[in-house]
Symmetry: C2
Subunit: 121 residues, 2 copies
Amino acid sequence: MSNQSINLNDKFAKFSAHWTPKVIAEINDYQFKLAKIKDEFVWHTHYDTDEMFMVIKGSMIIKLRDGDVLLNEGEMYVVPKDVEHKPFAEQECHIMMIEPRGTVNTGDSDSVLTAVNDVWI
Amino acid sequence: MSNQSINLNDKFAKFSAHWTPKVIAEINDYQFKLAKIKDEFVWHTHYDTDEMFMVIKGSMIIKLRDGDVLLNEGEMYVVPKDVEHKPFAEQECHIMMIEPRGTVNTGDSDSVLTAVNDVWI
């Protein structure tokens, strides 16, 4: 156990690839993941969990089948389980996600964007 | 289900009392809570869960029996379960906490600072 806080910007400085979530912390069996995103992700659904998105820098859109959710810096949104969604960012955006350990970034969609899980920084 | 993002600063503007956590979102059975804190909290322990603190504005110290953890804006820290801790802020500080629904703010310590749970804003 460390007595050192986790600085989000220091963690973001450690990677540059888009759509590659990095784990920075856990509470119980939930993980905090950082990602840099840009352009279109894939439509996908998580059938077993809700998923929280929070914008740390920039802005993003979470596309839903019934409309878009705009998230600016300091804003968050919970995508309920079973709800199809597609993240999008026109410019590079830094986000934090919180979800159960083992959650696959592309959910039910097999994609070239499917990332390796449990990559800690 | 709303297509509206949650703006943390808008939520902080809705209350002023210190040490009174407000729920702003849930994923599965975990809650996102905002609090304004100032001065000393009480030493306490959560025997059944880890607890995440993130500073949105200002700075705070999480006192542990083996030292202090300083958190500035944009920094977070996970207090593992079973670890006694005491939050402290010299100036008013805005924080977000993430923990299982039903977690009592003062853990095992009965205190005048024990807050009512599940207050949504």
